[in-house]
Amino acid sequence: MKKLLAVLLSVVMVLSLAACGGSDDKKETKALAAIFEDIVNNKHDDSSLPFAADEGLPGLGGAKIEFVFGDQSTPEIALSEAERLITEEGVIGICGNFSSATTKTTMVAAEKYGIPVITEGTSMSLTDAGYEYYGRTLPGDDVFIDNTFAYLDYLNENKAADIKTVCLISEDSEFGANIAKVEAETAEKYGYEVVENIAYNKDATNVTSEVLRAKQADADVVMMSSYAADSLLFMQEFKTQGYFPKMLFGQRGGFMASDFALNLKNDSDYVLTTSRWNSDIDNDATREITKRFSDAMGVTLIGDTLIAGWDGIVLAAAANQAGSTDGDAIRAAMAEGVQIDPATDPFGLEGYKYKEKNGQNEFGTAIIVQYMDSQLATVYPEGSASAEVQYPAKGWSER
């Protein structure tokens, strides 16, 4: 239906093909975007999601929001798409689940036209680059990985886990290399010994030699950063070699994707991963959005998909708060702190204040989840934990 004020709120740049970025699929992200559009643009008295009660954005005279989609299978395509969507579709903001590489090229266009961008590429180089219009709601690699090692300390103290050695396996792409670098530094800071640091080739025809090296190193914890197909290939090779470390930690990516549990079913059990959100967080907004999504798609909603759309809502709230669609006004609102009623926030963050200098949201928190009976359950921090961590992981034969 016709838009009152052509507020093309935000563009969800959806990953296509299994290139870099989470293994999310276009269909899932589009379904989520449709749910948010419906809630904001139409009156929903029973909903506990933001702007449900009114039609459109009150601060902008009831303007409707619309998600428009672009492709980002390579950095070059991401740049052309960003330029196309800004100049021809006239979007006022960009969000979506990006790899750090495609975020960098998208920022080239965004900085040029002064269009605010909120995405979750975790590499530190994004927040260190000094972008003016960049925002990241949830933590970057540093906080996620710091959180991981803090959790190892927590386990050593409370569960006498006696974890000392770590083996890093990461993909030789922008995504994997950044994580491996931060993991190595943080391990040193926390006093854990990195016994093996493997960077494997993204288009590998086999990962057998990587698994054999990890098996030989036999570290207490194996930390991995891989995308869709590789994470599955690794899990299968672990099973073939009959090796499963006491703790297998995946840094989001393929381990967070819906493909993971779908293909592996119970073989995914015991795998831990840092995460931004999980469907078992107990607040009304989470329960509602999870239900609406599974009604639409029949699949449980995962953090990567939700944050892709949720960043769009934050941009809308910022525009609504600033009362204008101009990029600088929205960025200013983001810097002051976007007021989102905590009751309507599935992430349950204290606030959305994006620092001027690097765009990082001060209140971003991370959680740690574990696959139990092929479903993700939050295990850390205790506040939002819904289940007890299963440690040490049982070997393949004992399952």
Partner: protein, 283 residues
């Protein structure tokens, strides 16, 4: 550990060998570089997946159908594209297969979407451990398939009339034509067989691989290098070249460094091509 790496090397070697034999057959007979061989394997994987989805058959049960379908698919591709390209300049022959690869990959993305797929519960699974060596049954399927296919191929090429006709055509097209061999059918059957080999490989690979449309391209460069190692157009050489490739891949990966293992493969290839251009066994 050494035995385990050796076993894994041979397993990988069989995949490269299957790919390389398909390429060597087409290269030997028609002097065409088939860039689309990896994509044929990918298409076979998806056919197996869809058969399994529709009828629940296990990949092994579906293999004969997949091989026949790929054979017919190969003949269709030959008649529509390759026959015509053979009349054109040499360079366009090479690009035809690259463009075909692009069409197959992206066509499959349109058809089946980009998400990772796999064949769920398979007939044979699990691992037998012989001392320190963990033999994965899924990979055994691949090894057995490859050996069976190689045996069949050799029997066909050396024992059957059509096989000899194809070998004659690959040595000298005009001479073969003179002695009454219909070189066009020889080419067509050869291309069909090469697609069928890729089919068998793809079908067996569904046992131990998750796949998506662009998995074919990762294998392409290894197939070519294996063929060159084995020598121009010699199918036996391609099999051995593939095996060598698998072993180099595993040993450099495990003992040297994972990130440089593909470089070792390329460097070894360059040394062989520079100092022994006809490869180890080629004519």
């Amino acid at each position: 550990m050494f035995l385990q790496v050796l076993y894994e090397g041979l397993t990988m070697g069989t995949i490269y060998a299957l790919l390389a034999m398909g390429i060597a057959l087409v290269w030997g007979v028609m002097n065409i570089l088939s860039f689309s061989q990896g994509e044929f394997m990918m298409v076979a994987m998806y056919i197996t997946f869809f058969i399994n989805l529709a009828t629940g058959w296990d990949p092994l049960a579906a293999m004969p159908i997949v091989i026949v379908t790929m054979f017919l698919f190969g003949i269709l591709i030959y008649r529509t594209i390759i026959a015509r390209a053979l009349k054109g300049p040499v360079l366009s022959q090479r690009l035809v297969t690259f463009a075909l690869g692009m069409v197959l990959t992206n066509g499959m993305i349109l058809l089946a979407g980009g998400q990772t797929k796999s064949v769920p519960d398979k007939l044979i699974s699990g691992t037998i451990s012989l001392g320190s060596v963990a033999i994965s049954k899924e990979k055994m399927v691949l090894v057995v398939t490859s050996i069976v296919v190689t045996g069949l191929l050799f029997w066909f090429m050396n024992r059957t009339k059509m096989g000899k006709a194809i070998r004659a055509t690959s040595q000298d097209k005009e001479a073969a034509g003179l002695v009454g061999i219909n070189t066009q059918t020889a080419y067509m059957i050869a291309f069909g067989i090469s697609a069928a080999i890729a089919g068998a490989g793809g079908c067996a690979m569904t046992y131990s691989y998750y796949f998506m449309p662009n998995i074919g391209t990762n294998f392409m460069i290894f197939g070519f290098i294996a063929v060159c190692l084995g020598g121009f157009g010699s199918i036996g050489g391609a099999f051995i070249g593939g095996m060598i490739m698998g072993i180099i891949d595993l040993f450099t990966g495990t003992y040297l460094s994972v990130s440089y293992k593909y470089m070792a493969v390329s460097v070894i290839f360059l040394l062989i091509v520079t100092f022994k251009p006809k490869g180890l066994f080629g004519r």
